[in-house]
């Protein structure tokens, strides 16, 4: 059930009406039933996968909680009887028991994710290696990826690690925990919420709140408009451009970089707007996932503002623990002793590269994603290593600091650099992507920009105009919403203006949206992860 479908809107309308008419103490139960119903549409077998994750995580978290309580109680009781050394040994043993419980649950769930998502990728690579030596071929398996598995697995595992670390207590009510894992608006493309953030409002009783409902509704409309008017419209020429890379090289590749950036932004932020808007209409607060990423001045900043919840997940649950792990600390020590100042960075950069490797693998089981992840890591590491040089440069040209022109240069540089790396996701073939990028220099052909060639990519001049106007509107809203979201300002400034905006959004989306017969319903891009 895609967010951009009449079926979803109907489902949402019914759920919404029931939500605010039944007694409030049943609201979260209704949400759970609704979420399972929503997920059922992806295939009944998907419910098996998500149930395994929910049950194993719930039970393990409860066990971790119970162990921590028992261990705490035992310590309290025997504190006086133990020496400092004995206490240390005992604590380490207790921690190890809890770690083993957590690890087994992590292995089960990440194992499921690995099997369904990466088995055929591994088999494909093994076959590639075997063919080099004239060996036989392993058969690939027909595995179907359950919808949203990467998102809900990460969300559930984040919770488990938080319980292990004692950042939050294990949820006692299985239904409430199941709702945390399966909450339908964020089930298929995130954000990857933390239990502490989401559970606060998820299971609360919610009274009818006109302002919240209006704000949520506006956000849903805005998300739908971005998806249907911009993202799905640009998907048409992009399909043409990517479908025939031989013909569409040179300046066309620049177009692919630009168009895919806009399409992916409209698609992903559109989906997240719908997610957050729907949750807001139900009185639930979901973490923001974007913070005007295309205004970032460097790659590290970009990743702090794009898909924020994924970035912080990897940072908190992978990068930080890895950085302070014994092997890495040992490596750090050794490198520092051996290579001096530069050596200090080796361990951090190694962790960074592992982080970006995993981020790439998370996005998809193919080399293009792995290379994409590694390139991001390399760019960030190079930027960090060049920082002294930047400092010298800024000291030489102090007038650049804070100048709008220089800011713009940095923003554009980051936009195009990230765009160039991102096209690995479009062509889905590493050598081809680099060939295409090289063709920008080798085979530029700028005349196609004005000789009408762009009108033969599947959409006409009217559609280009609509896409441009939509992109302009997104840009303006981003600029205006720097301090406070535009819809909030509109609602406070003049309710009539806010309503006029909503009416216009409904009408524009209905008229200019790309949907219905003649168009392939384009799934949200991030649904595939």
């Amino acid at each position: 059930m895609s967010f951009a479908s009449t079926r979803f809107l109907l489902f949402l309308a019914v759920l919404f009406l029931l939500y605010y008419t039944i007694p409030r103490r049943y609201q979260w139960k209704l949400l759970l039933a609704g979420s399972l119903f929503f997920y059922y549409f992806a295939g009944w077998w998907c419910l098996i996968y998500i149930s395994v994750t929910t049950v194993t995580t719930y039970l393990t978290a409860r066990k971790l909680d119970e162990l921590a309580r028992e261990q705490g109680a035992w310590f309290k009781e025997h504190r006086g009887e133990l020496s400092k050394e004995e206490r240390k040994v005992r604590k380490a043993r207790d921690k190890s028991i809890r770690f083993r419980w957590m690890l087994s649950c992590l292995l089960v769930n990440f194992g499921i994710l690995a099997v369904v998502k990466y088995t055929n990728f591994v088999i494909g690579n093994v076959n590639g290696a075997l063919s080099l030596f004239g060996g036989g071929q392993l058969p690939t398996l027909s595995l179907v990826l359950p919808m949203g598995i990467s998102f809900y697995t990460f969300q559930a595992m984040g919770y488990l690690i938080d319980v292990y670390w004692g950042k939050c207590s294990a949820e006692r009510n299985f239904g409430k925990f199941a709702l945390f894992v399966t909450f339908f608006p964020q089930l298929i493309q995130g954000p990857i919420s933390r239990f502490g953030d989401l559970s606060r409002t998820l299971c609360e009783e919610h009274a009818w709140d006109c302002r919240q409902i209006a704000m949520g509704g506006e956000r849903v409309l805005w998300g739908l408009a971005k998806k249907l008017i911009i993202a799905d419209r640009l998907a048409i020429p992009l399909r043409t451009l990517v479908g025939d890379p031989e013909q569409y090289s040179g300046v066309y590749v620049l177009a692919v970089i630009f168009l895919y950036a806009v399409q992916l932004y409209a698609d992903f932020t559109g989906g997240i707007d719908i997610t957050i808007g729907v949750a807001q209409m139900l009185g639930i607060q979901v973490t923001e996932n974007f913070q005007r990423p295309f205004f970032s001045k460097n790659v590290a900043e970009y990743w702090r503002r794009w898909h924020i919840t994924m970035g912080t997940w990897f940072r908190d649950y992978l990068f930080y623990p890895m950085s302070v792990s014994k092997p890495v600390l040992k490596l750090h020590q050794r490198c520092r002793n051996r290579f001096g100042r530069f050596g200090k960075h080796i361990s951090v950069h190694t962790c960074s590269l592992i982080l970006w490797f995993v981020t790439g693998v998370w996005h998809g089981a193919s080399w293009n994603f792995i290379v994409w992840g590694m390139l991001n890591g390399v760019v960030i590491i190079v930027s960090q290593e060049l920082e002294p040089l930047y400092a010298k440069f800024h000291a030489r040209f102090p007038q650049l600091d804070g100048s709008r022109g220089w800011d713009l240069v940095q923003i554009l540089r980051t936009f195009w650099l990230m765009g160039a790396i991102r096209v690995l996701d479009v062509y889905r073939d590493v050598p081809l992507t680099f060939r295409q990028l090289a063709s920008i220099v080798a085979d530029f052909r700028p005349q196609v920009l004005w000789d009408g060639s762009f009108l033969e990519l599947g959409i006409g001049s009217g559609d280009w105009l609509v896409a441009a106007a939509g992109t302009g509107a997104m840009l303006v809203c981003s600029l205006l919403g720097r301090r406070r979201p535009v819809r909030e300002r509109l609602l406070d400034h003049s309710p009539h203006l806010a309503w006029a905006g909503c009416t216009a959004l409904v009408l524009f989306t209905l008229i200019f949206g790309v949907y219905g017969i003649g168009f392939d319903a384009t799934q949200f891009i991030y649904n595939q992860f």
Partner: protein, 347 residues
């Protein structure tokens, strides 16, 4: 709070009105192209009832002339035909017609029995968009939709036709709230002549049986007419193509005999009627032109007068004045089309 509710109500109402207007604007008007699309809706502009209502596909609305039936026999008739009308669409149109009037005779062309499942969205639209919202329309939509179609888009055509935003023409504004009458009581006149030559023989089929769903709807038609005291007449129009197989003929004959329904296969009567496929067809035998349609209607009018409880209503008001007007329009249209055809031939 009260103010907020009023504001919301005002904007919702405004949005509703805008959507209604947009629906009207984006709906294809069929005034200058594909006139078949306008036929179903024209029926609602009729001001009197009819003794004979014909239902079916192009073999009905291209082959019979209600005007001739009036002029020569005083029979009031109307054709509720549309392109590739499927059996279930015919049934629901019949049911809907019976809500508006109770004719003496319902005529159904059996060619559509060959289609056991929904065919194409384009034809569905030509058949269903013109129907007024009613339980019959909803049922017809439900029965007709192909896999790719959505029910909602029939109720809110903007969901289907929004892509026309880049091709809207003056016609869409001109006909925002009204339509011209393009047919003569459902008959779509054509005066061109293209002789039937080299009509391809029917290719052997793996299975000649009509689909059970078609028989079900034919049964429902017969039952419906029975309930309303309407005589159902089954016909096969004299179109040479699509090919009408002997095996199909046998099944229909058997059914008509079993249900005690009159069945006329005009293909077997072309000589008696006087149809000459060198001069009486405008598309090499698929459909009759005006001259063929008038010959066929002349024969059918005589048959109806003799075999069915139809009245000669000439001289009766309001029929006389209304049909006089219709006849004048028919004559003018005929004259205009003939002049155009002559000009085309001369050029």
């Amino acid at each position: 709070m009260k103010k907020a509710i009023w504001t919301a109500a005002f904007w919702c109402a405004l949005c509703g009105v805008a959507l209604w207007l947009l629906n009207a604007l984006f709906m294809p008007k069929y005034m200058s192209e594909i006139p078949e699309g306008a036929l179903i809706a024209e029926y609602y502009q009729e001001t009197t009832d009819h003794d004979v209502v014909m239902i079916g596909d192009c073999e009905v609305y291209e082959n019979f002339s209600p005007d001739l039936l009036w002029r020569e026999y005083g029979i009031t008739s109307y054709i509720r035909g549309s392109a590739q009308q499927l059996v279930w669409q015919s049934y629901y149109l019949m049911e809907e017609t019976l809500k508006h009037e109770t004719p003496k005779v319902m005529v159904f062309n059996v060619l559509s029995m060959k289609y056991g499942e929904p065919q194409s969205e384009a034809y569905n639209r030509l058949n269903l968009d013109g129907m007024r919202l009613s339980p019959q329309k909803l049922a017809a939509i439900e029965a007709s939709m192909t896999e790719e179609e959505s029910f909602l888009s029939y109720l809110f055509p903007l969901l289907r036709y929004h892509t026309r935003w880049s091709e809207l023409k003056g016609e869409d504004l001109t006909y925002l709230f009204h339509r011209d009458i393009l047919s003569d009581s459902g008959y779509l006149m054509n005066v061109q002549v293209r002789p039937a030559e080299n009509v391809p023989p029917g290719r052997p089929l793996a299975d000649y049986s009509f689909a059970p769903v078609c028989w079900d709807y034919l049964d429902k038609m017969a039952d419906l007419c029975d309930r309303h005291g309407v005589q159902l007449v089954l016909i096969k129009a004299p179109s040479l193509y699509p090919y009408w197989y002997d095996q199909w003929e046998e099944q229909i004959e058997e059914y008509a005999a079993e249900r005690n329904l009159p069945y006329i296969n005009f293909l077997e009567l072309t000589e008696e009627i006087g149809i000459d496929f060198q001069t009486d067809t405008y598309d090499s035998g698929l459909h009759l032109n005006l001259y063929g349609a008038e010959k066929l209607s002349r024969w059918f009018g005589a048959w109806l007068t003799e075999r069915c409880p139809v009245e000669d209503r000439r001289g009766q008001e309001p029929y006389e004045s209304i049909w006089s007007e219709k006849s004048s329009a028919y004559a003018i249209r005929k004259e205009r089309l003939e002049a155009e055809w002559r000009a085309e031939n001369t050029a």
